[in-house]
Symmetry: D3
Amino acid sequence: MRKDGVIYLTKKVEFSASHRYHQPKLSVAENKKIFGKCFWPNGHGHNYALEVTIAGGVDPVTGMVMNIKQLKRFLQKVVQRLDHRYLNRDLPEFKRLVPTTENIARVLWQIILGQYPQLPLHRIRLTEGEELCVEYYGE
Amino acid sequence: MRKDGVIYLTKKVEFSASHRYHQPKLSVAENKKIFGKCFWPNGHGHNYALEVTIAGGVDPVTGMVMNIKQLKRFLQKVVQRLDHRYLNRDLPEFKRLVPTTENIARVLWQIILGQYPQLPLHRIRLTEGEELCVEYYGE
Amino acid sequence: MRKDGVIYLTKKVEFSASHRYHQPKLSVAENKKIFGKCFWPNGHGHNYALEVTIAGGVDPVTGMVMNIKQLKRFLQKVVQRLDHRYLNRDLPEFKRLVPTTENIARVLWQIILGQYPQLPLHRIRLTEGEELCVEYYGE
Amino acid sequence: MRKDGVIYLTKKVEFSASHRYHQPKLSVAENKKIFGKCFWPNGHGHNYALEVTIAGGVDPVTGMVMNIKQLKRFLQKVVQRLDHRYLNRDLPEFKRLVPTTENIARVLWQIILGQYPQLPLHRIRLTEGEELCVEYYGE
Amino acid sequence: MRKDGVIYLTKKVEFSASHRYHQPKLSVAENKKIFGKCFWPNGHGHNYALEVTIAGGVDPVTGMVMNIKQLKRFLQKVVQRLDHRYLNRDLPEFKRLVPTTENIARVLWQIILGQYPQLPLHRIRLTEGEELCVEYYGE
Amino acid sequence: MRKDGVIYLTKKVEFSASHRYHQPKLSVAENKKIFGKCFWPNGHGHNYALEVTIAGGVDPVTGMVMNIKQLKRFLQKVVQRLDHRYLNRDLPEFKRLVPTTENIARVLWQIILGQYPQLPLHRIRLTEGEELCVEYYGE
């Protein structure tokens, strides 16, 4: 993970979304047992923080790994698709995937690299409230 | 607001809920104009922090305004009704009220005093994310 | 300060600025004694958080004290004048005033009410780092 | 509480201490019932944050309510007596008083005004972890 | 540390404890020199945050690395042994070990894996206040 | 990055500084395009948090990776050179380097190891406000 001279730069953006944990392949009883109150049919919601880490050398002219204004605008567009949305219904990615923190992180990784393939993406961290976060380094 | 010898004790509890800003008395266009992305039909969600402040003298034997364990258990029950719920559909209080932060705070005030009329309630503060909070001292 | 049925709504916006504590009416020795390292000629800087509290009844149709999108846009414009600026040189308000946290708060109060006289402004809180904040209720 | 032209300035200092909730006038059974796990004989501890608010007009020369360096040094001395101490044994003030958050706040108020009677003290806020704080305006 | 497709999930639990830095093999003078105010005989305390990171693939049915409710209950039991305790006296693990943040982290690692050997434990982070944390990946 | 039995200990210190993004090799138009509002001639400022991580085994006598009091004093001296300074003018290191977060981190790494070559330095993290941080593991 560590390379000499590499800077790991992390930028945070936030969004608010609602979701519901529900696996249609399982019975209602199984869903309730596994997901507890997250199974509630009408859903519930969170403030999410997405921290995106890029890695690279420092440009000797600009002193930056990449242009931070450009990165910020890009990430704001990425989370706009999820912000103020009900993930289960509004995002086709979650038609078949339970929108757990783990799966939202993996979907965000794919969205980010799909829209910006040359981004030197190192890691994403997705935080759901103060007690839970997941980190993902890609597949 | 200030009385000599009075301690203001604040206890925080948290919950996660989803909601949608929608006033049925108004047209869709008016709703969109007023509420913007909060009007989205499928709703969205937040982590909320409820901070309840009680005020009173300090009991000379226990050194407490009131028993803090009892207060914590009571507040956990209060937010259980809202936690992991879609406020518009799951709480009858929001059938006619838009579940804005302001109205959630007022409803919480009524729930708290309805269930615990003798609580020396001074103020409630309801925080929705890091940028917005409301405070309410009752009616 | 407390009225029945009044909601106190607080919105936070942030800005980054630099400043220097220097009172031209005093000698260099007096400036150094009073202001210590804040007197340093080239200045230094902070991230500031401005929390603006408005107070009012809740509109029975919208459920809001005032439109929160409108408040946010207004406050973003207010801090734009200070953001990424050197307060002593870039803001005429600080030609004669030492830009202490106290004076920045008072100047912000005047800017806010000067641009939006009908805003039901109750309090502003200005935070400079994690150890210091000032609150102001106007003159 | 509000006066025109008054700035409320709050300075935060931190300390770490241990304590035990025990009222010798009560039986062991009563102590256990009231204080629960806080009664444990060997004690336990917290990081405390003390936020001291002073109130006053702004000096037209310095732009400050009072000299902030002087206030910081004073508050650091105040908490030095409690920092890294077991409050029940090490502070005579808690020989007869249960060191609840409420009583620690009241004792701090007395210490502060006892050592600095002319301080324009408005409020102290004592925070014990992220879920509990008390505010006190004096007697 | 990085494997393709692996999610690192972190769950936070908190506890409050007191401790004292004291190495019986050393003289009082040496203890004082090394540990300073942490050597104080009656001890002092902190709020600790324990962040436990597990690593693994995402279950295609549940969308989770492991059941988060189960992980939370397990971690709450783990910290119950330390919560509201004086580590030096109440935990046999610290009869011979100085309860530094480093050693508490190592003991927590052993407790966690001792009680739940199949847990895909990746890292624990133990935070003592806002200025100090340690991370441990096991032995 | 991971060695058996190694503890990663992180200590945080803070400082406030001002800076300006300006690359003299580029035209004013290019500077404006790349750096936007950070190019403003009079500069602006931030509160920075420097988190320094050392890595090592735990001393069986002291229970520590290294003496934490000594580490704290050393880091306070390190940031004293930057605290309450205008980086572009006051630090010779930034005569030729744009004081981006990336470059400040690299300069801090060199200062730390230059003054304390035997420090078991693992990583530094430099945070500029709540939305941006960089991590560096050395060259």
